[in-house]
Amino acid sequence: AFFWLVSLLLSSLIWFIAVKASDPRDEPLQKGLLIFGVMFSVLLQEAFRFLYYKLLRKAIEGLVALSEDGCSPISIQQMAYVAGVGFGLMSGAFSMINLLADALGPGTVGIHGDSQLYFLTSAFMTMVLIFLHTFWGILFFHGCEHRRWWEVMAVVVMHLAVSGSTFCNPLYVGSLVPSYLLMVIAATWAYVLSGGSAQNLRRFLLCKF
C-alpha cells in the first residue's frame, strides 16, 4: 500500500508540473496531458511493483538464511498475493473514498446531464480494479520469479488496457465489459499459476477433500 502511494505521489507530481507548465485554457491539451498522466502513472505503478518485488526477494533470502530448516516461513506466492491486495486496496480506497463521503450527503446523481449510474459504475470499476491488482500481483511476481518477462509485460499491457478503457467513460460498455473480461482471464491465469486446476476447483466446490 505504501509503495502504491509513493508511485501515486510521483506520478501526480509529474502531472502537476506538466499542468502548471501548460496553458490551462487549452482543452485538448489538458485532456492530452491527462491521458499522458494516466499512462505514466500506470507505468510508474508497475515499476514500483517491481521494486517491491525486489525488496521482498531480499527479505525472503534473509528469512531463509535465518530459519532452522532452510525454508522461509512465508512463500513468495503468499507475498505476491499480499502485495497485490495491498496495491489493490490502496488504489480502491483512493478511488472510492471521496465518492463515498460525498454519497453520504445530499444531492442528485447526474443532475447536470452526466450519467445517473455514476456511483454504481464507479463501485463496479473499483471492485474490478482491486481484484485485478491482486491477480496482477501474483502474475507479476511469478513472472519475475521464473524470469518469464512476457508475463510481466502481459501484466503491464493489461493494466494499460484497463486504464485506457476507462477513457471510454461514460460509455460504460466500453470500460466495464473489457475490464471484467480481463479480470476473468487474469483470475484463471493466476489460479493456474498458483497450482490450481479444474480438478481442485471441482473438489473444492463439492466440498470433498
Binding site: L8, L9, S11, S12, Q45, I74, Q78, S95, N98, A101
Partner: protein, 457 residues
Amino acid sequence: MITFMNNSDSEEEPCNERTSLMSAESPPVPSYQDGLQASEAGEAQAHRKRRTGSSRSPNNIADGDADSGVPVRESALENEEEELTLKYGAKHVIMLFVPVTLCMIVVVATIKSVRFYTEKNGQLIYTPFSEDTPSVGQRLLNSVLNTIIMISVIVVMTVFLVLLYKYRCYKFIHGWLILSSLMLLFLFTYIYLGEVLKTYNVAMDYPTLFLVIWNFGAVGMICIHWKGPLQLQQAYLIMISALMALVFIKYLPEWSAWVILGAISIYDLMAVLCPKGPLRMLVETAQERNEPIFPALIYSSAMMWTVGMAKPDPAARGPRQQTCVAAEDGRENHRSPLHADSQMSETRSPVPNRPITSFEELEEEERGVKLGLGDFIFYSVLVGKAAATASGDWNTTLACFVAILIGLCLTLLLLAVFKKALPALPISITFGLVFYFSTDNIVRPFMDTLASHQLYI
C-alpha cells in the same frame, strides 16, 4: 521480543512521556536487516505468529545474556535469537498497529462529526501569538515563536521531571500524575461527551451524566494507575490519548501545529539519542535503580503490570526502558498529574514482585511492545489535523495514516537492530508531514480530475 525503548521526552506536562516506543524485554537482536525487511513487509506476521508460541523461554535467557553484555555468543544461539526476535518483532508490530489505528480512528471520527473541535475558540497560553495576521511572513514568524515557546516549556518540564526522578521525589511525581489523569478523565470527558451529545441532539439529564462520567472516570483511574484487565487499561489509554489529541487539534493554530509537530520530532530525536538528553538520563537512572519508568504513561501491548526489574537474576533483567516520550501536548497543567501517576504505579510495582522471580520472567516475556502515550497523541494530532484542514479530505487522511504506520514499522525495525531506546516520533512524523503536504497539494488535483472524468489508474 522486539520492542523498542524509546525515550521520549517527558513533556513538561504531566502528560508526559507518553510517546516513545519502549521495548520491554527485548531479546538481543543481532542485526537482522533482511529479516526485518520481511517483518516490515508484514506479510510474514501471520506465519510468524504460529511459531511464536514455542520459543518463549530461550528468548528470555537470551535476553539476559545479551543484556549482561556477554560478548561471545554461539552463532546458533545468535541465529535463534534473531529468528525469535524476528517472529516477536512482527507480532509486536501488529500489536502496536491496532491501538494506534484505533486512536486515530476515534480522533478522525470525532473531528469529522463534531463541529466543536474544528472551531477556533481561542488559543492556549503556550501559544500566545495569534495567526490572524494578514501577511505570510508575519504568520510564519508567529508560528515559529509559538513553537519555540511550546518546545521550551516542554524541555523545562522534562528536565524538571528528570530532576524529580533523580532526587527520588516520587510522591510529588505521583501526586502530579494523579491530578493530571483526574483532570483528563473527568473534565475532558465531560466536555467531549457534552459536545457529542450536542452534535447528535441527544438529551441527557445531569444525574445520568454524573453517573456515567463518575463511573468512567473512577474505573479509568483504577485501571491506569493500579491494576485492571489489560484490555480495559489499553482501551482507557487509547481514549485519553485521543482526548488529548483532540484538545491539541482544537487549540493549536494551523501553522503552529505543523511547525510544532516537526520541532517535536527533532526534539525527541535529540532528547533520546544525545548523551545529555533528559530522556536518556531518565532511562539510565531508571536502569541503575532497576526500576521501571512511569508505567502509567506507557502503552503496553502485553501485561502492563510493572514487573519489578529488581530481580537478582541477570537473565531476567532487561532494562525496561520505557521511552516516555511524553506528549508534550499536555501543555495544560492538568497533565502533570498524569506523570505522577505513572511514577506512582512504577514504585508500587517493584515491591510486590520481588519474591516472584520466575513468574516475573514470564511476565517480562509477555510484556510485549511498549509505546509511549505521547506518540499516540502526536500521531493522532497529525492525522486529525489532516482530516480537519485538508481540502482533499479523505485521501489526505488515508495517506497520512499509511505513512505513519509505515514509519512505525521502520522504527520498530530499527529498534530491533539497535536494541535500545529509540524515539518513535521522528520517522513517522516526517513521513506523515511529507505525505500530508504532498497529497494535499499535488495528488489532490490529480485525483479530482481523474474522478471527474471517471478515469482509473
